[in-house]
């Protein structure tokens, strides 16, 4: 097992999943979380939670077409290129 403590690994869990850790640090944290019996369930649960939010995010609505048209009209009246 690496020198990373459970406390540190769990504190960095979301930074790891968010891709916010430098590569070498991320590797050591990931290794601990994947190999440690008491930390592994937290990793699985955080991954599942993040996956759920990604799915919800993908299902989010886009701007309605009438808003896009209205906005483009307004921007054109302020000097935006009319476009094709």
């Amino acid at each position: 097992m690496s020198q990373i403590s459970c406390q540190e690994a769990l504190a960095r869990l979301y930074e790891l999943l968010d891709g916010e850790l430098p590569a070498d640090h991320a590797d050591r944290i990931r290794e601990h979380l994947e190999r440690c019996g008491s930390c592994f369930p937290s990793l699985c649960s955080a991954r599942a939670f993040q996956e759920l939010l990604r799915r919800v995010s993908r299902g989010q609505p886009n701007a309605p077409p009438h808003l896009r048209e209205r906005l483009l009209d307004l921007l054109r009246s302020e000097g935006l290129d009319p476009g094709p």
Partner: protein
């Protein structure tokens, strides 16, 4: 590339993202449309101040949030004035909002078909129920995929504060979803 062209190629592609962020801030499709429109108009007028090469998305989110906060401040000021000068309604003058269909209900809103599934609705409701300081970071990180540094820029906070709010916000969101699942009998309720 002139000013208008660069705005069109760098800012306009983020229209959908800004609209979604505005939806989470305002909680209603109609208000989100107005806020999005105002955001892009302000952004276009201030486009000369945008630094090329930086992320236009977080710049637009900053304008969107500041516009929203300013509007809310103005509205609460107006409300205070109204409350001070309007006698409290009594008897039949009291409007029963439950009798007005769709009023203030984003689920029954005519545009409401954008919530694709019950589960999505549940998660979004749980996010909307978070205190504003947590709702903002969770929305920007988990729904819009902004990096910590970008969130810090939008919210004008140190990265360390973003990190700790995100940690607490996600924990709170998980607790609310767990409570909901227990209430619905999806998972066993925790022992009293």
């Amino acid at each position: 590339m002139n000013r208008a062209e660069s705005f069109e190629s760098e800012a306009l592609p983020h229209l959908d993202a800004v609209y979604r962020f505005a939806l989470r801030l305002t909680g209603s499709a109609a208000d989100a449309e107005d806020l999005t429109q105002e955001t892009f108009l302000r952004a276009f007028r201030a486009w000369d101040r945008f630094t090329p090469g930086t992320r236009a998305k977080s710049w637009l989110f900053t304008i969107c949030r500041n516009t929203f906060l300013r509007q809310r401040k103005r509205e609460s000021h107006h409300r205070e004035i109204l409350e001070r000068h309007t006698p409290a309604p009594t008897g039949s003058a009291v409007v029963d909002t439950s009798a007005v269909p769709f009023l203030g209900d984003p689920v029954l809103d005519p545009e409401g078909d954008f919530f694709r599934s019950f589960l999505d609705r549940t998660v979004l409701d749980a996010i909307d129920s978070l205190p504003a300081e947590f709702r903002e970071v969770v929305t920007l990180a988990d729904l819009e995929g902004l990096a910590y540094a970008e969130i810090a820029e939008v919210l004008e906070l140190p990265v360390g504060t973003v990190k700790s709010r995100l940690f607490r916000g996600r924990r709170l969101l998980q607790e609310r979803l767990r409570d909901y699942a227990a209430d619905q009998g999806i998972i066993p309720a925790p022992a009293p």
